[in-house]
Amino acid sequence: MADDKVGLLERVRESVTTAPSKMRKSQFWESVFRPGSPFRAGYTDSPRGRSYVIMNNVLYHLHPVKVKRHGVRLSYTLCLGGLSFFLFIVLTITGIFLMFYYTPSEERAYADIEALATSVTFGTLMRNMHRWGAHLMVLTVFLHMSRVFYHGAYKPPREFNWVIGVVLLLLTLLLSFTGYLLPWDQLALWAITVGSNMGAFAPVIGNQVSYVLLAGVQISGATLLRFYVLHVLFLPFVIVIFMAVHFWRVRKDGGISGPL
């Protein structure tokens, strides 16, 4: 009787300890992780294995198998470009969360924002993260541009990627600006009034641009809907396309610049 118990225990222990390696050899596991993945059975930490990790990974779209040694040093880039992209992802996630609770109408917008604090779980946290994340993204994009300038990283063959970067800076500012109106409080209304008044000074097309953006001669409920669509759909769509070209050009132009 006691022997049976020991034998059973032994078998249970054996199947528990061998389960991970069995799982890693299963068809399902191998269909999830491509050959070369460090999660696959038989991965070896060799130069060849390390190359395969990137080569067979979605990250291969962003990074080559090898990068210049100086580029890995934190002090070279401070990760500013990557952090800008990461903040964009955080803003997308928190923004989608906020979209569930927000109606872009004159009557409901302000009440919906107020309700985030009172009747939505993590509502305040999500709104705060979205707001501060947006400010941080403007900051990281700006600092990234400065870093690129001081390293002379816009010089041939990277000239055009700098131009794309300037467009991305403008799109970031526009995204932040259109989002600014959405809470529909006094701060939002009058900041956008001041901001769009500046835009109306543009010669020849100033009034037309202002009319199209505001959906009228001054801010109204129609402006709210227009800014909302620009903020959650149009501008993210455009910025993603420009980001894709930006990242692709970084690799095509020879990866990170330098060393100095």
Binding site: V67, R69, G133, L189, W190, V194, M198, A202, G206
Partner: protein, 324 residues
């Protein structure tokens, strides 16, 4: 050590730092010293191992001599079998291949087979070569035909044409010191993302986003300020005509000028000391924008008049929750 590295770097054409690291890895893998590896690359005498290497050379020289003896005596079939074992291909195929090669090159089949088998080539028609080889390899070298010097005043070559090296040689890029993206870059990025997430979470827990009263078209707040990244522009608007401050400066200098930097700055240097003017101009631009933004954010009160934040308070609603 440094001298050796420099010599090896000069001999191989790679940067000294890479040569040193590579030599260390090679020495570790082969169980020798770094100096020996470096000396091998630099093509100089091995400093410490030289004495030990000399006696070791003698048996090495004797070894082929011993192997040569059977090679001369081997029959064709034995040689084919040896070659088959060496290459892992059927003896029949090797025999056919060797015959064809021998015919094409005009040498004996045995010589070709011996080369395939990896045994010293037997001298054709001279089985006596075996004892001869046991002496040394030096006489064989001496027996090589030496060209007689050309008589005085006779040119033995002429110049046909000069071909630029670029046209026929593949120009390769300079070797660059690189590391694997996995794990070096990916790990650094992951840490950066985690740090940024932590920072953003802490910030969002501590400071609430501002929310004033509901929008009211009939109640203009005083002062009315744009979002903080446009406050520099708003500040400019209080100095200049809107056509200049609202259009010319942000549009032409801010956007077009910024985008045109790579086409204006034709200086190819990236070293900061070689591009002082560009750096100076850009720093002026940054400092100007920052100064205007700070004045607009913190030094402008009701009516957008100049105030000191420490006497009249801060009129900057973006950080409302934090300021109160």
């Amino acid at each position: 050590m440094e001298e050796l590295i420099a010599q090896a770097a000069a001999a191989t054409g790679y940067p000294a730092s890479m040569v040193e690291r590579s030599a260390a890895a090679r020495a570790k893998a082969e169980g020798t010293t770094i100096e020996a590896v470096l000396a091998g690359w630099a093509g100089v005498e091995v400093p410490t191992a030289a004495a030990a290497g000399a006696p070791g050379g003698a048996p090495d020289a004797a070894a082929p001599a011993q192997a040569a003896a059977p090679a001369g005596a081997m029959s064709l079939e034995d040689l084919a079998a040896a070659a088959a074992e060496e290459s892992g291909m059927p003896a029949k195929l090797l025999m056919r291949s060797a015959t064809a090669k021998a015919k094409a090159q005009g040498v004996a089949v045995e010589a070709v087979l011996a080369e395939m088998a990896g045994v010293p080539v037997p001298t054709i028609g001279a089985p006596a070569a075996a004892p001869a080889a046991s002496t040394s390899a030096a006489p064989a070298a001496a027996a090589a035909p030496v060209m007689a010097p050309a008589p005085e005043g006779v040119r033995t070559q002429r110049l046909l044409t000069v071909v630029k090296s670029k046209a026929i040689q593949q120009v390769k890029t300079e070797p660059v010191d690189k590391v694997n993206t996995w794990p070096h870059l990916v790990a650094a990025e992951f840490v950066a993302l985690m740090a940024m997430t932590a920072f953003l979470l802490v910030l969002s827990v501590i400071i609430n986003a501002p929310l004033l009263e509901a929008a009211n078209f009939n109640l203009t707040p005083n002062p009315s300020k744009a979002p903080w990244y446009f406050l520099g522009l708003q500040e400019l608007l209080s100095y200049f005509d809107p056509q200049i401050a609202g259009v010319l400066i942000p549009g032409l200098i801010g956007l077009v000028g910024l985008g045109a930097i790579p086409y204006i700055d034709r200086n190819p240097a990236t070293r900061p000391s070689e591009r002082k003017f560009a750096i100076m101009m850009f720093t002026f631009f940054l400092m100007g924008a920052a100064t205007l933004g700070i004045i607009g954010s913190f030094f402008r009160g009701p009516g957008f008049n100049f105030t000191y934040p420490w006497t009249d308070g801060v009129f900057f609603d973006d950080l409302l929750d934090w300021l109160e």
